[in-house]
Amino acid sequence: MDAVLSIRDLAVEFQTDTGLTHALVDVGFDVPRGQVTAIVGESGSGKSVTANCIMRLIQPPGRIVGGTIEFAPERVPPFEIVGLANKDPRLLELHGGLISMVFQEPMTALSPVYTVGNQVAEAILCHRKVSRREAWRESAEMLERVGLDDIERRMRQYPFEFSGGMRQRVVIAMALVCHPEVLICDEPTTALDVTIQAEILTLIKNLQAELGNSVIFITHDLGVVAQIADQVVVMYQGRVLEIGTVRQVLKDPAHPYTRGLLAAIPGLAPKGEPLATIASVVGGQDIETPHPLRRLADGRQVSLPASAESGP
């Protein structure tokens, strides 16, 4: 498999008042080039921390204590991200140039005091030596691509003049305007209405198909995963429990925790009966003890002891 990112043995700790928290423990997976990889898990599972490691955005009291992230872009020679010095020029190129990020809250990702056109053009001017006019022109093109109408007028407006869905389109335009090889979307639709979510998911999917970039999509919503992902990584308490294709993981989950996550979705349970919870599905099975990922015959990887064979 041609991986654009190879994450190995990644470990992150946070120094807190109550002691050391292991936010990531031996996290490892590949991000296949030109595909959508979804990272799913509940709050505290480490999915956002993993994304922040790729962007080297881990700030004290957190720190990366081990592991490697090999990055193999097509435009520049491959390099390793964890070991980059803070002043390494490749780090600047990484941020927004080679890898860019779309966050959950579009209002906090945009500055309220600059026009939308200014902010998208700034992303270009940060990374490339082009004139302001050229940056403005390319910004207009990208904003049109993400579905804005009346572009010239809209570019001179401020974020507060946009609806939530339109703001998220602007953020996506900003993220894509430098043609990153990897786009990381961290719960980009969680704050949106279901109708707007559907529009944004369709947009991200279509743009990915057009531009051929790789996408890491972080979400807790398995419905969203089913619709957008090629590959799925299931995380729990800072560990990877299961990696497989979207059909493998959602239609035939190998790990009891993944089965619990699926069973807890309200729409799937018969009416009048209590919803399954993770605890009720997992039952007496131990999901707390870490096990190294094992590759099964069908290619997927699962963190279960060799004795416990997969399948419900």
Partner: protein
């Protein structure tokens, strides 16, 4: 509809409207809520569902319409009452909020949080209040040693249990759940939904369940109102309405739900072609 003999009705709303700066937020909404049922209110943000719920509880004052509520002393029209006259009725109608982090005072212990409604309504002496608090902790499945702890010591799901206990400690009939499970992880959400359903059976509660997540609504609600731009565009039994939506707006909402089955592709309807 005569207010004095609503058949099993707990709440009757007629022609309710609310304007903000002249802009309509809720327009001419009428419905009836029966005892022990769960009525869902769904719609996008800005559709007026929270404003409707707040008008019913008189958290804000409606501009027009009638809200009849069957209190312990018979039917009352809530919109007519003064703030002072509303106080005794507050025991009978309570709200569970969305954000378990924002809705609990961080400087109060669980005991103080749960005891406060009883003190405000002068219910019982010190021992009786403590007994009621402990009883309510049992109902929401929290340990008794939670009493002396502060909200920060609890997880999101546990905090939501505290919020539920605070709403129920006065033994209300009507409970408005405003996006009460929306901020929770799916597994915690499942636990809280199960708890709300258990409590409804144990305590005979009537829920007005405001939510944007249609799969949650489908699971927990008996009937549902669909709101769009302040109006109720469609209402009916939840299974029937979800299986056979009559209105374009309802079809738009339902078509936007991503299925957890990768072989059921997302094919959202287009708002513009529907003319919405």
């Amino acid at each position: 509809m005569n207010g004095s003999n609503g058949n099993g009705a707990l709440l009757q709303v007629e022609g309710l409207s609310k304007f903000f700066d002249g802009l309509p937020a809720v327009r001419d909404v009428s419905f009836e809520l029966r005892r022990s049922e769960t009525l869902g209110i769904v719609g996008e943000s800005g559709s007026g569902k929270t404003t409707l719920a707040r008008c019913i509880l008189r958290a804000i004052d409606p501009d027009a319409g009638i809200v009849r509520f069957q209190s312990a002393d018979g039917w009352v029209e809530l919109q007519e009452l003064s703030a002072k006259e509303l106080i005794p009725l507050r025991r009978e109608m309570q709200m569970i909020f969305q954000d378990p982090f924002a809705s609990l005072n961080p400087r109060m212990t669980v005991r103080e949080i749960l005891e406060e409604p009883l003190i405000i309504h002068r219910a019982g002496n010190r021992e009786e209040r403590l007994a009621a608090v402990l009883d309510m902790l049992d109902h929401v499945q929290l340990e008794h040693d939670s009493l002396t702890r502060y909200p920060h010591a609890f997880s999101g799901g546990q905090r939501q249990r505290i919020g539920i206990a605070r709403a129920l400690i006065l033994r209300p009939n009507l409970v408005v759940c405003d996006e009460s499970v929306s901020a929770l992880d799916v597994s915690v959400q499942a636990q809280i939904i199960n708890l709300l359903e258990d409590l409804q059976r144990e305590l005979g509660l009537t829920y007005l369940f405001v939510a944007h997540d249609l799969s949650v609504v489908q699971h927990i609600c008996d009937r549902v109102l669909v709101m769009h731009r302040g109006r109720v565009v469609e209402s009916g039994p939840v299974d029937e309405l979800f299986a056979h939506p009559r209105e374009d707006y309802t079809r738009l909402l339902l078509s936007a739900i991503p299925s957890p089955d990768p072989d059921v592709p997302l094919q959202p309807l287009d708002r513009r072609t529907l003319g919405l």
